[in-house]
Amino acid sequence: MNPHQGGSPQQLVDHLFRHEAGKMIAVLTRIFGIHNLELVEDTVQETFLKALQTWKYHEVPENPSAWLMRVARNRTIDLVRRQQRLSAISEELSLLLQSEAELTILQFFLDTEIADSQLRMIFTCCHPALNPEDQVALTLKTVSGFGVIEIAKALVSSEATIQKRIYRAKEYIKDNNIPFEIPVGHDLQERLDTVYTVLYLLFNEGYNSSKADELIRHDLCGEAMRLCKLLSEHRVGGVPPTFALLSLMCFQASRFNSRIGDHNNIILLEHQDRRSWNQELIKKGYQYLNLSATGNILSVYHIESAIAAEHCLAPDFHSTNWVSMLKLYDHLLALKPSPIVQLNRAILLAQLGNTAAAIDAILDISGLDNLLQHHYIYPAVLGDLYWRAGNRDAAYRHLSNAYALTPSLAEKKLLQDKLDKVETDRPEPGAS
């Protein structure tokens, strides 16, 4: 038999295995318990090896996902049967318990239950007692089916570090009997907030990381969006802040490819070709933003998404509604009084023509000295503003500092261009 004759090579759906791994791990964890995560991962690995062996010689089954689930399910029933046999009970009772167990296992493999198990896994990985970095690593490993090498690449870290984080998180969960469940009531609210933070972190790692390679960054953003969507489709997760976060991700992702130029240089919002923004994603962004507009909670994601929507609404940079934008930033600052929000608000003041107020707003940021020495974005913005204000010395000092701080070649290039201009004293284009 030759299934390959004549046709073009068979194709698997992108990330099929990765997505199925997440599903299988979640379902099997429900069956074997979170303390048996090793056994669960081994079983999933076996399932893939079996697929690898049979599919490559013959044909990919019509429904690969169902095939994988069936193999995992049979293997599970097998393992459970073996457990039963060890019990010190009569054969009759053992058989009875066995058929009971098999029925329950079959239930766990139903689509709705799979989704439920995945949510449990997300909530468990985002247990507030875990370090944020451990939460992220464990989520990528068990919920998203990333390998350790892939996680290390995506988070620009070493394999050993990632191994350690995953190990630490697993041990903590085991030692403290963290339940594999979806929390209820007030705990649910709190846990959802942690989940949002982890998903947003995942997305931003992909969106902003200047070191990781393009492909893995894309994967990371896509994965954060997939998990957020999964959350939104579940009864406990389909709440306004989830939709707000999802819409924010859509708006941001619509500009993903427009931010990097042909020479791997960063293209600022101002200079991006807006026709290259992904309209499909922008449309989805608005849809989710509408879905988020119910209830009485105004989350930071609502405001950040509204800000991103403002950018998408403007046909070009200069017709951005800066006044409305400033109002949104005032709201955001009240909810999330962080230096980076203050910095962005200051940039808006400058856009509205008030460079002096913008500089003052930055100088007001508490702990600014420290930020200027460690995070390139602060000296980069401040240097730019000083230049607009005509203070060449301060401009040069801060821009050089930013140049030294950023690890990104693309950013360095951008800053070098500015430094050249400051040196030759050409006026900043667009400054008036």
Partner: protein, 112 residues
């Protein structure tokens, strides 16, 4: 005949994405062989098996070889010569994960 060894042992740990990439490489290789009209058949071999040996034959349970020595499957292909077959075998996707290919010609026995 291509006899494949290694690359399917239990100790091979691939991430889901790597496993998928590996499978895709196989599809492309088989696709290429098929497009050239070279591919005839192929099957994987299960790891479990038995072997009988000795003057007083004794049955032992497999696996007979460890890891990279274990035969994982075979292809039957059409080629003009052993040289051409060897050339085609360079497309084998699992060299990187310690797999190997043995290339053997199936003897044609002329009908009397």
């Amino acid at each position: 005949m291509f006899i494949f060894r290694g690359s399917a042992p239990k100790d091979l740990v691939l991430s889901p994405e790597e496993a998928q990439a590996s499978m895709q490489k196989w599809f492309e290789w088989i696709g290429q062989l098929s497009a050239k009209g070279r591919y005839v058949a192929g099957d994987p071999l299960l790891k479990e098996g038995k072997s009988i040996e000795g003057k007083k034959p004794v049955v032992t349970d497999g696996p007979f070889a460890e890891g990279k020595e274990l035969v994982g499957g075979y292809f039957i292909i059409k080629a003009e010569s052993l040289e051409e077959a060897t050339e085609l075998a360079f497309g084998f996707p699992d060299f990187e994960i310690q797999g190997s290919v043995e290339i053997r010609e199936i003897m044609k026995i002329p009908m009397a």
